[in-house]
Symmetry: C2
Subunit: 301 residues, 2 copies
Amino acid sequence: MQLTILGTSAGGPFHGRHYTAQVLQIDNHLFLIDCGEGAQMQLYHHRIKIDRCNHIFISHLHGDHVYGLIGLLTSWCLKKRTESIHLFAPPGLQELVETTARICRVVFPYDLVFHEVDASVSTLVFENSKMEVWTIPLDHRIETSGWLFREKPKQRHIRPEKIEQYAIPYALIPGIKAGDDLLLPDGSTVPNAEMTEDPAAPRSFAFCSDTAPSELVAETVRGVDVLYHEATFTNEHLAEAEVAFHSTAEQAAEIARRAGVKRLLLGHFSGRYSNTEQHLAEARAVFPESYATEDGEVVEI
Amino acid sequence: MQLTILGTSAGGPFHGRHYTAQVLQIDNHLFLIDCGEGAQMQLYHHRIKIDRCNHIFISHLHGDHVYGLIGLLTSWCLKKRTESIHLFAPPGLQELVETTARICRVVFPYDLVFHEVDASVSTLVFENSKMEVWTIPLDHRIETSGWLFREKPKQRHIRPEKIEQYAIPYALIPGIKAGDDLLLPDGSTVPNAEMTEDPAAPRSFAFCSDTAPSELVAETVRGVDVLYHEATFTNEHLAEAEVAFHSTAEQAAEIARRAGVKRLLLGHFSGRYSNTEQHLAEARAVFPESYATEDGEVVEI
C-alpha cells in the first residue's frame, strides 16, 4: 500500500497547501479519497496515473472535500474515458454531479455508478479478492464517513522445496495454503507448519477527515497500520474545534493511542497556522508515532 | 486598466497552464472574468486582493470557465464577507450555485445578485460613473457572452493657471470641463480650447472566450485597445476548431484585423500544444500586434 497526500489544508489555499485529496494505491488499484478543488492539478503535478482509478470515496459534501470532483469527471470526458467510475459518498453526491453536468452540458461517455453510503454505522461498501473498504462513522456537522481500507488475510506461503520433497499434487496446494496438513500415501501426516510460512500481515489504512474526537472512531479503526486523522486546530483553539466538530492534534493523538494504531498522520490544518510544529508537539506528547503530513508526501504502508 | 491573466488552458491543467480566469482592475475596482477550477489558488498565488471584487462575469457555463466559482464564493463565507457580489452570466448560473450551496450546506453571509444576460445581442449590463460593461455575442456550442469593458469619455482638464487668470468661479468649472466657453464680465468670451486640455482617451478591453470566428464579434469590439480572443488551435487543427466552435490563432488575428483593434491577446490553448510559438507565428502573419498570453501575465491597457 502506498498513500499519496495531495492536500493538507482545511480552509483555503494557504501556505502552499491544497484542499483534501489522497490517493491510495493497493497493488495495481488506485483509490481516490476526497477530491477538493484543484485535486486534478495536484494529480497531474505529482504524476499520478489517475485514469486507472475506478473507485472514488468522498467523505462528505463540504466543498473543501468535493469541489474538485466535477472537474476530474469532466476531464475524463475529454480523454474519452469508457470505464465505469464508482463513487462512494453520503447522500447528495449524485444530485450534485448530475445537476452540474446538466447545467454545464457534460455528457459522460462512461458510466457513473453512485454508491450512497450510510455513514451512521461501519459497513462494508466495497471488496475485491484482496481487500475491503468499510465506512467509519465520523462526528461532523453533516453526515460524514471515514474510510477503512483493509487487506484480506493472505494465504500461507508454501516452501517450494517441500512441494518437491513430498511430491505435493497441484490439486492439494490451495488447501495447504489455506492451512491444511498433508496426508502421505503411507498414511503419515506432514503438519502444515512444516510446509508453509506465515504470510505478510494484512495491511490497513483508515482515513478520518473532519470529525470531532469520537470513541466510535477509535473502536472502528482499532489496530490499523496507519490512521489519518484530521487535526484542524492546536489546543489554543480547542473551543473553536468543539463548535465546528473538528479535532485538535492532541485529540487526534488520543484517538490513535486508544485505538492502538501503529502510526498517526495528521492533516486538514487550518489556514491560520503557517507551520505544523505546534500540532506535532501536542500530538507526540500523547502518541509519539504522530506525523504531520505535507502536500505531495508519499507514505508507504 | 490593468489585466492579470490567471489561466490560459483550454482543456486541462497541462504544461503549467490553468483554466480560464482573468482579473481586470479599473481604478480601484476589480472585475473577475471567468472562473475555472483553481482560480482562487491562482488569485492567492498572484497576490490579487480579490476580496475587494464585487462583480464577476462568467462567459458561459462550460466547466473550464466556471468550476472554480463555487470555491471562491465558499471561501468568502469563511472570511465572513458581507458585501454583495454581482454575478453576470448567461442562464443557468443561479441554479448551479444555489443547488451546489444547498447540497454542500453553504450559507452565504452576503447577498448574491444574479444578473442573467442575453448573450444573443450586445447589451449594456453594468455601468458606474467611469465605465460600462457590454455583452459580446459569441458563437459557441452553448450560449456564451464575451465582455466589453469601456471607460466613459473623460472630462476635459482645466489648466490651473487659467482658473487664476480669469478668476473662474467654482460653479462654472463643471461646465467648462464639459466643454463650455467662459463669458467674462466685460462681455468677451474665452474659448474652451484656451482653458482646457484633451483628456486621456477612454480605454477599452474586450474578452472573447470560446467562440468560432464571428463577424458580429468584429463589429462589437471595433477599435478596442486590447482584444483577448481565444485561439484554441493552430491551422493544423482547423477542422477540429470548426466542429467545436473554437478559433485558430489565425482566425483570431483576422477578427482583430477586421475590427481594427490596437492589440490582440491570444489564449485558451489546447493541451496538445506544449508551447505557443506556432499560434503566434500564424497570428502575426495576419495581425502583427498579436501576443500569446502566459499564466500570471500582467497587461497594462
